[in-house]
Symmetry: C2
Subunit: 273 residues, 2 copies
DNA sequence: CGTTCTATTGACTCGATTCAAACTAAGTGG
DNA sequence: CCACTTAGTTTGAATCGAGTCAATAGAACG
């Protein structure tokens, strides 16, 4: 167990949702973690596991699968800065399976750390609650998508959400980001067949909204994609809406430069907890 | 504001998920509440409302709709004992709309009460966390259903879930319960059209699994319904599984008589908080 | 007693699945 | 380095589940 810079990704994520004091950021800087690499489709958390730490995703993507079936429905996906199993700090049993979608880097952070920072700072405890509520908001919103949209909107919405969530932690600044998902993964997220996932992507490509090649997604018409998806990011509970419907891709860093300093806590030297 | 017996429904619900001490039950007995009746499809919570109390459902059903569209997707439904907006104790803003599905009786309970019992009893705080986690479990499970099942299984699964959740709070003992939902409501839950909802119900009737007439559902072949739905109630996190695949309807109260005393706290006289 | 909401039915259309096959890319080992 | 394997993508054709539209029948309510 060592102290590293894992906390900066988490700090970016937290500050995108809740306002933190300098003291809170100092608390975060003391986050102990042990890093592990996972290869694509490797299992990170097993059903009925009772971990004493949480997974903080540093690079790549992960997803929950609630069913045991290997190509079963994916219930949520995660981007760097997310802590998919934060809820295990409340009830330490894992009821589903957590997989890496593409290669992923994960920092394991002891439950005790989250308990401690919650106890020390009221505001931090509140921020962690908001984080959990944001996850539930994502879940509810995705349920609405699955229940009421056809495949084209589903896929479009998914890509909008990933984009905004990445940008909230300082990634995908140029509307371009790695996407190691297979089309079967995409299908498992969107609740459609792999074949149809393929045809849907082609449709999006043909409409000139995005490119998806060699494990990279490049959004070529963000406003149109948002419009097609009917994407409204309120449910993400971000302090900055992050939409910029008007800003075109020609101006790479629109107006969030000041609100979005990538890692405001880097000034604090890390020290063991 | 008065103290009533609203707490018994809530206590039933809590004890179905978490173990409570006698002291905890005494705490619950002091629950202050003000009762209100709602008629079918009346709105209980409005978007962007900032309530200082929670809705404890005493009779009937309610549902969340995340979209403003009046026939939009329903993201969750609630049975007596549920507190749909418990999360507002953490973050007091309501992001969706809460409706009564059929006539409903609701007890409004101040946030302060939940904060107080959490502060006084560690075990109670934990129980409330488990309650919230169970809600999320429901949500995830329903997302899987919407993403991977066709309409027949969706409807079958919904009815299984309602049945088990009702039975967990001492209702629907004979696999028979009021169901004031319209077929449009059912459609909005299951993400299908109202016309198709109708045809699906007829299918279930034709298979001899249930009756649905004059706002009552009678399950006529519970084991077959469970099998058809592929219903596995683990995700509800109930302490008692409540499946009884084998027990037929001829024996109305199978084996849960001892574990399920309907309101174990009624012995405690209610006193103002 | 009529108005309104809800349930039901039929015909047509469309989105999506399935199955099968071909094709590409990426490894792996001889 | 090439042949072989494997995983992932792409395409077509047949089928099926579900949506839509429209019309009717029934139930509830004032």
């Amino acid at each position: 167990m060592q102290t590293g810079f894992a906390f900066t990704k988490f700090a970016d994520h937290l500050t995108s949702i809740a306002e933190l004091s300098d003291d809170d950021l100092d608390l975060l800087a003391r986050m102990p973690s042990s890093i592990r690499n996972f290869s694509s489709h490797e299992e990170i958390r097993y059903r009925d596991e009772q971990p004493t730490d949480c997974c903080l995703l540093l690079q790549g993507y992960t997803c929950w699968k609630d069913t045991d079936h290997s190509d079963g429905q994916i219930t949520s996906i995660h981007v760097p800065g997310d802590v998919p199993d934060l809820y295990t700090t409340l009830s330490p049993r894992v009821e589903a399976r957590l997989f890496a979608l593409g290669p992923a880097v994960v920092a394991f952070v002891p439950h005790a750390f989250f308990h401690e920072i919650s106890a020390r700072s009221e505001r931090m405890a509140h921020a962690l609650s908001l984080l959990a509520l944001a996850d539930v908001g994502c879940l509810r919103n995705w349920l609405v998508i699955l229940g009421s949209c056809e495949s084209l909107r589903r896929v479009a919405h998914l890509i909008c959400e990933i984009t905004v969530r990445l940008r909230a932690v300082g990634l995908a600044r140029d509307y371009r980001f790695p996407s190691p998902l297979t089309q079967s993964d995409l299908a498992a997220i969107c609740g459609i067949s792999a074949v149809h996932a393929n045809r849907t992507i082609q449709d999006l490509r043909r409409r000139g909204l995005l490119q998806w090649q060699s494990r990279m997604i490049t959004i070529t018409d963000w406003p149109a994609l948002v419009r097609l998806a009917g994407f409204k990011p309120d449910y993400l509970r971000l302090r900055q809406p992050m939409l910029q419907e008007d800003s075109h891709l020609l101006e790479p860093r629109p107006l969030e430069a000041l609100e979005m300093s990538p890692s405001p806590v880097l000034r604090a030297p890390a020290a063991p907890l």
